[in-house]
């Protein structure tokens, strides 16, 4: 199939051989499970269990709240020992509301929704509903609730489902192993999603450095009818970026600030497809996922099927521990992954890999002045000018940075990767994006405050006016009453004085 040209990109040292030939192993039952209430984009889930309660495997322990949200399920049976703040697997190290479960070792399943043998018996809306109830989110790392993405069929005119098996980040091999070992399950999920999205064409993109995965998926696709194509894409980072993958395969360029769905394409990760298959066929909610543990500082890199909520420290111990003090511990890949504040944080739905990288692997050096070589410009897949944006940000000129397009940056890291002066370009852009968003929030708050202050002032004014009027009315009434009283008194007095006279005049009249 003809592929379209995508600009820029880099060729990092992939080092996938550290774990690509290691078959997936299941993780033995962890000591404790920490399930944060927010493992997805959107509103955090609300707990539906209490401390001390026994929960079963696959039981919903927190329900979704609002349109963009996802529920959380217990990865194994056990007792809820705490619902409180624990360190989030986030670079800030801030705490997050988490449900802590102590496994009882029985691994007892909760009653699950009925398995569905023929997905065509369900309507697309039903499928989306079951996917939502299973707590499935984008497992490529974005963690966007998958049901919401499936529902895009009602908002946009869709014609292509693009299944992302590119896995362009170095070290990560979990999607590769998944496609090799469970191609049938993945393809089944793809079939269900295509039906749910009501699209005719399915494209499955896999990078050319995964020949076995390409073969396995092609074989599995051959058993299905319909327009399903497995396509090998060139090995280049960031081929797996959904906008660039869409461009490469369909030639359609997603307009700025829009979704790929707005141009007819929905992108889902292969692991998400497999989770959908399990949810519909077996009624299984999302309670575990494949994680690659790798890096030179790990004794035995592995691909592991991990129950969600397992602490990273237990994972690393399972892999033989650390051979040396790592320079960085990262959740995800080295290019776009997030550094972890410690290993006492859980694996969550979006954790595709845990990397312990040494100094030699990260190749970090102190930053030197920019020499304007322009390499960052030639590798940027978004056509931006990183050297210019970084210069603006260094001088705190955020408007200039915004005008240069920093909000169009996807933070892929290609520019930082190649900079000969080792300038932390993406760090500047992350900072700028954070500040710009904070300023937007501040502005919205100021507008709100202004409206409230004015509303209150108006209300106070009304109350004061009403008070004044009431007071004036009262005064007037009092005056009127006083005047009436005085008049009455005067009339009574006059009447008294005149009565004998009136009586006399009456007698006179009658006489």
């Amino acid at each position: 199939m003809k592929l379209f040209r995508v600009r820029g990109g880099v060729h990092p040292d992939y080092r996938k051989e550290l774990s690509s030939e290691k078959a997936t192993v299941p993780f033995p039952l962890p000591q404790r499970l920490y399930m944060p209430l927010q493992q997805h984009i959107g509103a955090p889930a609300e707990p539906v269990v209490q401390v001390g309660e026994r929960v079963l495997k696959g039981q919903m322990i927190a329900r979704s709240t609002g349109a963009v949200s996802a529920p959380v399920h217990a990865p194994t049976s056990g007792i809820v020992v705490d619902i409180g703040n624990h360190t989030a697997p986030h670079p800030s190290g801030l705490p997050q509301r988490t449900i802590v479960i102590e496994p009882d070792g029985k691994d007892e399943w909760a009653p699950l929704p009925a398995p569905v043998a023929d997905h065509l018996s369900l309507t697309p809306a039903d499928i989306a509903k079951r996917v939502a109830e299973a707590g499935i989110v984008g497992l490529g790392g974005a963690t966007f609730p998958s049901a919401v993405k499936l529902d895009l069929r009602s908002r946009c005119r869709l014609d292509i489902l693009l299944v992302n098996g590119a896995e362009c980040e170095p070290y990560l091999t979990c999607d590769d192993r998944l496609m090799r070992e469970h191609a049938d399950e993945v393809m089944d999920g793809v079939r269900i999603m295509a039906y749910a999205l009501e699209v005719q064409t399915v494209l499955i993109a896999i990078e050319d450095n995964k020949p076995q995965a390409l073969a396995a998926m092609t074989k599995a696709a051959a058993t299905l009818d319909g327009d399903i194509r497995v396509i090998g894409v060139p090995v280049r980072y960031p081929m797996g970026s959904e906008r660039h993958l869409t461009l490469a395969l369909t030639g359609r360029e997603t307009p700025a600030r829009k979704l790929t769905a707005d141009i007819g394409v929905v992108v889902h990760n292969v692991a998400t497809a497999r989770a959908v298959s399990q949810a519909i066929r077996a009624g299984r909610p999302l309670i575990s996922r494949l994680v690659t543990v790798s890096g030179s500082a790990v004794a035995e890199p592995k691909n592991i099927e991990v129950p969600l909520g397992t602490h990273v420290s237990e994972l690393i111990a399972f892999c033989g521990g650390l051979t040396e003090e790592p320079r960085r511990i990262i959740s995800g890949g080295p290019m776009m992954g997030q550094p972890l504040p410690s290993t006492a944080v859980p694996v969550i739905k979006g954790t595709s890999g845990i990397l312990a990288l040494t100094e030699a692997e990260t190749n970090e050096r102190p930053a030197q002045p920019c020499i304007r070589c322009g390499t960052c410009v030639s590798v940027c897949p978004c056509g931006l000018v990183p050297v210019e944006m970084a210069a603006f940000i260094r001088k705190e000129n955020l408007e200039g940075a915004q005008a240069s397009g920093v909000l169009d940056c996807v933070s892929c890291g290609s520019c930082s990767y190649v900079c000969p002066s080792h300038i932390p370009l993406v760090h500047y852009f992350n900072y700028a994006k954070g500040r710009i968003n904070a300023l937007e929030r501040d502005k919205r708050k100021r507008d709100l405050v202004k409206r409230l202050v004015e509303a209150r002032a108006e209300r106070m004014e009304k109350i004061a006016k009403a008070k004044r009027e009431a007071l004036a009315a009262k005064k007037a009434a009092a005056e009127a009453a006083k005047a009436a009283k005085a008049a009455a008194e005067a009339a009574a007095k006059a009447a008294e004085g005149e009565q004998p006279a009136a009586a006399a005049s009456e007698d006179k009249a009658s006489a």
Binding site: R7, V10, P12, D13, P91, C156, R157, L158, R243, E253, T254, P255, A256, R257, K258, A261, I263, G264, V265, S313, R327, R328, P334, M335, M336, G337, P339, P341, S342, L357, E361, T362, N363, R365, Q368, P369, I371, R372, C373, G374, V377, S378, C380, P381, C382, G383, V385, V387, E388, G405, D408, G413, S416, Y417, V418, P420, P424, V426, H427, N430
Partner: protein, 358 residues
């Protein structure tokens, strides 16, 4: 176990560094430099060494005065490269103070006065060369015939010291004009190009380097090899060299066809003077050339155009230095106007229209 989080990703880096880049450029220059030092004898070596050492000393002095640490900046190779390129543009038998003054001007005024590495608007080596050319026109335009070390006619060590440091330079006996200079002088005397070319060094000699000129003006072949090395190593891209060389060649060829007596042809322009050196090593200087590829093409065309114009119409026989400086001044404007198209947006910056979906 807590790990320090001081910066965000990415946490992988290519094996690139400023030092590696500069070292590769110096390596690319090495063949041509070594050949030319051999070609012009010991005085050339002394001048070259002196220029280079002065560049490094001036850099150290400036860093000290500015209160910045000398390491690693002194050894990142940028000062050495500036001194090296300046030396390449000097007449090989020039007196020692030409090299010293030139280096000092290049580093102190051409680089640090603007704020140090990455901040200069103009190419420091060219700033120095032009300053020298205008201030000391005699010493800067006396070229000698090649006198390879070991062959007859080449001065011995003592004689060379006398030439470089003692000022013993017998102008009439030893000087020879460079090809471009010869053509221009003859034109001004009314002798058409077609005749003077016959007396100018053969094209092959120009290409191989057996002709009078500054270090970098000769041996086009070795410079070309160095340039190819840089292209393969991805240190430079093809845009600026191709644009500059293409423009010079096209203009030369077209105008030679129009008036062969007035204008030398395209190949002559390419092989004589500092065209190749300028195209691969001087115009491609990172700091003073545009960052985006589109801008680099315009810049290259500009340098080529100005070089040809100055060579053909202006008072100086060689125009690369001036052309480069003039285009350096245009670089910020070019960067402002010519940039890549942002993904998802039109050239004007508006989001692309939505189609094929809603």
């Amino acid at each position: 176990m807590t790990v320090l989080i001081d910066k965000s990703g990415p946490y992988a880096h290519a094996p690139t560094s400023v030092q590696r880049t500069m070292t590769l450029v110096l390596a690319a220059l090495l063949p041509a430099t070594a050949f030319n030092i051999w070609l012009f004898g010991w005085p050339a070596l002394f001048l070259f060494a002196l220029t280079l050492v002065t560049a490094l000393l001036t850099e150290a002095l400036c860093l000290r005065l500015l209160g910045r640490p000398t390491s690693p900046t002194l050894w990142d190779g940028s000062a050495a490269l500036t001194g090296w390129l300046l030396a390449m543009s000097l007449p090989p038998w020039a007196p020692w103070w030409i090299g010293v003054v030139g280096s000092f001007v290049a580093i102190a005024f051409g680089k640090h006065m603007f704020g140090g590495i990455g901040q200069n608007v103009f190419n420091p080596a060219m700033v120095a060369r032009v300053a020298l050319l205008i201030s000391f026109p005699v010493q800067m335009t006396i070229f000698t015939r090649p006198a390879p070390i070991g062959q007859a006619g080449s001065p011995g060590l003592i004689d060379s010291l006398a030439i470089t440091f003692g000022g013993r330079f017998d102008v009439d006996a030893l000087s020879a004009a460079s090809a471009l200079g010869h053509v221009k002088t003859e034109l001004s005397r009314g002798i058409p190009v077609t005749d003077s070319i016959a007396k100018a060094p053969e094209l092959m000699d120009l290409a191989l380097g057996m002709a009078p000129g500054s270090f970098g003006e000769t041996s086009a072949v070795l410079i070309l090899l160095g340039g190819a090395f840089l292209l393969v190593k991805r240190i430079i891209s093809w845009h600026i060299p191709a644009a500059m060389l293409g423009t010079v060649f096209v203009l030369g060829t077209v105008f030679h066809a129009i008036d062969p007596g007035r204008y030398p042809d395209g190949l002559f322009h390419l092989l004589s003077g500092a065209t190749f050196l300028g195209a691969f090593f001087i115009a491609t200087d990172y700091v003073t050339s545009p960052v985006a590829k589109q801008g680099q093409l315009v810049y290259g065309v500009g340098v080529g155009l100005l070089t040809w114009i100055i060579r053909s119409y202006a008072g100086y026989p060689e125009g690369v230095a001036f052309a480069v400086l003039l285009m350096n001044a245009m670089t910020p404007l070019i960067d402002r106007g010519l940039r890549p198209r942002v993904f998802g947006r039109t050239r004007r910056g508006e989001p692309l229209p939505v189609k094929g979906g809603k």
